[in-house]
């Protein structure tokens, strides 16, 4: 047996494998070479022992390589189809380069193999730089998104959601909150009236009163909702949204208020935000505070007002029948629009209620 003959067989195998375009075809090729009885390679392997030692050393490994090449090709063809199987041939050629000259002598055209590969590729080619197909779904209003997120944070802190009417009695909106009829604090809130006693609530605070009147302490609620004030410009809307928080229990302190607000701000805006409290005035809390936040990457690091808060005024406890000596608590309120404007960089509050789809669909 001449080495040249084996090389010739090898070349045939390469050609047959690369031309096989179906499993049936391939099976015939496999049978021809690896058939148990008269497969060409099978026969060759059987006859190896008749060769002299030098021939054995040359031909033996070659025969084994060809056998495993066919087996691997078949395996890969079944798994990944013809294109991946061709890769087996290509890598076999490469693998042997430098190691043995034998495969070179098969004179297999690597080019033809690569051609066949690229032909196959172009058939299957898809351009994945084309945009994906988004099945259209709707968009939640940005204010609703903020509200939902705030509620989610606050319920994790143990608050339950409470609700109250938007058209409210003067008593709940003002009187019970320690804002009697001739109190100058009424000027802080320009009120829409429906009748002498009925108005559109100017804040979500009347919900505090309704909740406390309807249950015994401890109380831990938030009240999200629409509120109304006669005011309209770039930063004021006659209708806007607030979320109010109320916590009443034994031994609640100003430090608890501070800690709660800080935790809450860090959850909404992120831990990199600084929080500052400064004294302010609300008739229904004492001490009262405005809460400012700042952050290096927003508004030049300037402080921005985001929240009002305070310890519940004893007069409010008296109005709802809680003993201010026994119970203490705090309340806070924030404007959802303001938070949303800060977070998304929206400069005009009126955009929220214009409902231009070009705006809403950005969120």
């Amino acid at each position: 047996m001449e080495i040249g003959q084996v090389e010739k067989i090898g070349k045939e195998i390469f050609e047959s494998l690369s031309e096989s375009d179906s499993l049936e075809n391939l099976d015939q090729v496999r049978l021809r070479y690896l058939g148990r009885k008269d497969g060409v390679i099978t026969q060759l392997a059987k006859n190896l022992k008749t060769f002299d030692i030098d021939q054995k050393r040359l031909i033996g490994p070659l025969v084994n390589n060809l056998r495993s090449l066919i087996e691997e090709f078949v395996k890969e063809f079944k798994r990944g189809g013809r294109i991946s199987a061709i890769e087996v041939l290509l890598s076999a050629v490469k693998l042997e380069e430098g190691k043995s000259l034998l495969f070179e002598k098969f004179e297999v055209s690597v080019d033809s193999l690569t051609d066949s590969r690229s032909e196959n590729e172009s058939k299957k080619f898809i351009d994945l730089t084309i945009p994906g197909k988004k099945i259209p779904i709707g968009h939640k209003h940005p204010l609703v998104q903020t509200t939902e997120e705030l509620i989610e944070i606050l319920t994790r802190l143990g608050y339950s959601v409470a609700e109250g009417p938007e058209a409210e009695l003067d008593y709940f909106n003002f009187e019970a909150l320690n804002i009697p009829k001739d109190h100058p604090a009424r000027d802080m809130q320009d009120t829409f009236y429906i009748s002498e006693e009925v108005l559109l609530r100017t804040h979500t605070s009347p919900v505090q009163i309704r909740v406390m009147k309807s249950q015994e302490p401890p109380v831990k609620v938030i009240a999200p909702g629409k509120v109304f004030r006669c005011d309209a410009d770039v930063t004021h809307s006659p209708m806007f949204h607030q979320i109010e928080g109320l916590y009443v229990d034994k031994n609640v302190t100003f430090s608890d208020l501070k800690g709660t607000i800080e935790t809450f701000i860090s959850e909404i805006f992120g831990p990199e935000f600084r929080v500052r409290l400064r004294p302010s005035f609300f008739p229904f809390t004492e001490p009262s505070a405005e809460i400012d936040i700042s952050c290096d990457h927003l508004a030049n690091g300037n402080w921005m007002e985001v929240l009002g808060a305070g310890m519940i005024d004893p007069a409010v406890f008296e109005a709802v029948g809680y003993d201010p000596e026994e119970w203490s608590g705090f309340a806070w309120g924030l404007g959802v629009e303001r938070i949303t404007m800060l977070r998304y960089g929206i400069s005009d509050i009126r955009l929220f209620f214009e409902n231009d789809l070009r705006t809403i669909r950005q969120f």
Binding site: A167, P184, F192, P218, A232, D256, E286, P314
Partner: protein
């Protein structure tokens, strides 16, 4: 409130009164509760400004309106062409030299105006940025030095603080008040100016009579004779201007200046115009003649309003505004100053009723120190004497029947600790409060009694003192803690779950969420079929466009559709969840509703290559897509089911006749669905077909919701049969399906409509063809063909007998 740092420094003797210190102080004031900002002044290029005197004025040879002025700036005389009418030789004026740059960037140059050279400009108040007056040049006092910078005279280098005072801190509505607060912060003693009144023994033959001491606990007055009314000196004008007040004449300016300095509003009467011997403080009477105020307006008054009167009737509306009949004018010689204390609620009532907010009423409403009237009136008369050479009467008229004394408050140490979370010692508390003139009267082991100065009417309770302690300590020095709550949170309310679930379902169906104002104009509601008697209206709307509480969410949604169509949107699917309102006995009824609209317009939402599956699939855009979104909501809610009942809309309904259904739940209407009629669409300027639904979520939330139960999977094969029938167009699908279900028995597991056809291929135009896929299955065994055929035949038979339906060939 605007005050300047130098003014403040008169009480505090500050070492520095520059802008940098103003910034530091404003930050400190802010953190102690006075929201303060340093006013950003447009820095004037004051190096190029000089005080000069007009030497001569001639007419411009070539222009009627221009004058040629020669001015002396202390070094040279030069010519300036000027357009102002009030130029006159001898006037001291501010001249901008060539090279001066205005805040707006404009630069003064040597130039020729109509052939005459002009070297600079004579400035008006407006041009200097210190006032609004641009009617003529600004004329300074005669005694001004020429050749120097006007900085001092104009107060240009004095930083201005803008302070927003919360309603409780009336004590800070003055330079004195802010100085008190600053003195505590800066730990610097305050010096209240001592006023030495150089009076003469001239008596005043007037008596004060206060008939309503509750409204007017104190009335103080003092007279000055032989005063000369004229312009105020430049320093006084500058002070008032920096506080945003317009200088008027020396006497009026003095009352304003003292009010800004001490917080006590003053009024000045022309003493010679007061009739009779008495000044009476009393409520308005029916027989009083009409009252004309200083602003020239007549006000409608009643017995609730407190008046200052002479024997002839009202001469001032107490604490709000004076009357023209006693006004100080150019001819006034003898003046009576009033420095009174009025009750806040009395002033507020009047102010609100007549809608007139003055600097005086603003302060009285919030509370003024009743024990400050004397200092204020003395400062006013003495300053008047100095500026007008008048003679001060030695008589001080002061009616103060029940002097208001400082209140005392007992403060419990454990109460402070319980509320603030910090244990303070007696000493610490005293050190915090005493700089505010809140002094300790008695000291016990567990409590302290404090005396509250009468200029702090906001401190009446223990809690008010606790706030002062927290404020003085500094909110940001408190430790932070989280409360240890003893309260487990409640579960989410059903109504909220329904709202959230419905919203999610609508978003999934491709609808964008909107939020509209709860108020609209009433004619919009009328167009949409609202019952006018049930509309809730606002008494004081911002505009008629926002005057009525909405009765339907469609009012906003249709406006949104119109806006978005105008912006060229072609696919518009919107929904809103919100409240509608209906008039009721006391509070209006509020309903939580959800409404959606869909516009039938062609749209390609995805790109397409013609073959790619789904790429070109047109999304269904008709009313059934809308209905499908509502069905998805019910699916999300696992809601039993709603009945859709084809119906005729009311004549006032916004819905189109023929394509309308009521949505019922247990025989109660909870919503409606249909096409909006053309007349409505026209009103909103919508030129596309539009369908909508409205549903009341409150009604739905009253239902019981079950938790989903897993259904056994079919273990036996299903049999399919298609059923296509022709029958009368008007027979509703719901009836057909009911008959099919009834006739099939329990082996029919589902019915799916797959085709509806009305058209020319049918014999009769009143007919329609409908086709269903019927799925048969028996959970216990494999169905035989005969069983299915039998059931199918029985369906066909029943449909034929009930509706005259026939199988489509």
């Amino acid at each position: 409130m605007l005050i300047t740092l130098k003014w403040l420094s008169e009480f505090l003797q500050l070492e520095k009164v520059d802008n940098a210190f103003a910034v530091v102080l404003s930050e400190e004031l802010l953190l102690s509760g006075l929201e303060t900002e340093v006013v950003e002044v447009n820095k004037l290029d004051s190096a190029n400004l000089v005080i000069a005197e007009i030497v001569s004025v001639e007419d411009h040879p070539d222009a009627d309106r221009l004058k040629l002025c020669v001015v002396n700036d202390g070094v040279n005389e030069r010519r300036i062409v000027c357009g102002a009418k009030n130029v006159s030789p001898g006037h001291k004026v501010v001249v901008a030299n060539p090279g001066f740059i205005f805040p707006n960037g404009q630069k003064i140059k040597n130039t020729k105006i109509r052939g005459v050279s002009s070297n600079g400009m004579i400035c008006s108040e407006k041009e200097l940025g210190i006032g609004e007056d641009q009617s003529g040049i600004m004329v300074l006092s005669k005694d001004c030095k020429i050749g120097i910078s006007p900085d001092e005279v104009l107060g240009l280098e004095d930083p201005v603080l803008d302070i927003s005072i919360t309603p409780n801190r009336s004590d800070c509505l003055s330079v004195l008040g802010v100085a008190r607060e600053s003195s505590a912060i800066l730990e610097k003693k305050i010096k209240i100016p001592e006023v030495v009144v150089k009076d003469e023994s001239i008596s005043v033959d007037k008596k004060i009579e206060v008939l309503n001491p509750d409204d007017c606990p104190r009335y103080t007055a003092r007279a000055i004779f032989d005063a000369t009314i004229g312009d105020s000196p430049d320093w006084l004008k500058a002070r008032l201007r920096s506080s945003g007040m317009r200088p008027i004449n020396n006497v009026v300016d003095i009352t304003n200046y003292v009010m800004f300095t001490l917080g006590q509003p003053l009024h000045s009467f022309d003493l010679d115009r007061l009739r009779g011997e008495k000044i009476i403080v009393r409520r308005w009477k029916q027989e009083d003649s009409e009252f004309v105020a200083l602003d020239g307006k007549k006000y409608d008054l009643s017995e609730d309003d407190l008046m200052i009167c002479d024997s002839g009737g009202p001469i001032a509306l107490a604490g709000v505004i004076g009357g023209v009949n006693s006004e100080v004018n150019q001819d006034t010689k003898n003046i009576l100053f009033e420095s009174a204390h009025f009750s806040p609620s009395c002033i507020r009532k009047t102010r609100r009723k007549i809608g007139l907010n003055t600097e005086a009423s603003y302060r009285f409403e919030r509370g003024v120190d009743p024990n400050g009237t004397i200092l204020a009136i003395n400062m006013a008369v003495e300053l008047t004497r100095q500026l007008t050479d008048g003679k001060i009467s030695s008589t001080v008229l002061d009616v103060y029947p029940v002097p208001i004394k400082p209140v005392t408050i007992s403060l419990r140490l454990d109460r402070v600790a319980n509320l603030l979370g910090i244990n303070f010692t007696v000493e610490e508390i005293k050190n915090l409060l005493e700089p505010l003139s809140i002094n300790c009267l008695k000291e016990k082991k567990d409590s302290i009694v404090f005396e509250i100065p009468t200029f702090r009417p906001d401190i009446t309770r223990e809690i008010d003192l606790i706030e002062e302690i927290a404020r003085r300590k500094g909110y940001n020095t408190f430790p932070s803690s989280l409360p240890r709550t003893s309260k487990p949170p409640k579960s989410r309310s059903k109504r909220r779950s329904i709202e959230n679930c419905s919203r999610d379902a609508m978003i999934h169906s491709g609808f964008d969420e909107v939020i509209n104002y709860s108020f609209v104009n009433s004619s919009t509601l009328e167009i949409l079929g609202a019952d006018l008697d049930k509309i809730v209206s606002l008494k004081n709307p911002l505009s008629s466009e926002m005057s009525s509480m909405r009765t339907t969410l469609l009012s906003g949604l249709l406006q949104n559709v119109s806006l978005n169509l105008n912006h060229g949107q072609r696919s518009i699917k919107l929904f809103e969840i919100g409240k509608t309102f209906e008039k009721d006995e006391k509070l209006p009824l509020e309903f939580l509703e959800m409404s959606a609209v869909l516009v039938d317009s062609e749209s390609i939402l995805l790109w397409t290559d013609g073959t790619s599956p789904g790429g070109d699939s047109p999304l269904p855009k008709d009313i059934f897509t809308l209905k499908g979104s509502l069905e998805r909501v019910l699916e999300f809610l696992n809601f039993p089911s709603l009945d859709f009942e084809n119906a005729k809309p009311d004549s006032i309904s916004p819905y189109e006749f023929g394509s309308y259904a009521k949505i019922n739940l247990n025989d109660r209407q909870v919503g409606e669905i249909g096409h909006i009629k053309k007349s409505c669409l026209d009103y909103f300027g919508i030129d596309q077909e539009l369908s909508s639904f409205e549903i009341n979520l409150d009604f739905i939330s009253k239902e019981d919701f079950s938790i989903k139960r897993m259904e056994e999977l079919n273990r036996f094969p299903e049999s399919y049969r298609d059923l296509a029938i022709v029958l009368d167009k008007k027979i509703p699908n719901s009836s057909i399906e009911a008959v099919i279900l009834e006739a099939a028995g329990d082996i029919l597991s589902s019915i799916k409509l797959f085709d509806v056809y009305h058209g020319t291929n049918l014999e009769n135009s009143n007919q329609k063809s409908v086709a269903y896929t019927l799925v048969f299955n028996n959970p216990k065994r494999t169905l035989k063909d005969e069983e299915v055929n039998k059931a199918f035949d029985s369906i066909v038979c029943d449909l034929s007998s009930k509706f005259g339906a026939r199988l489509r060939s």
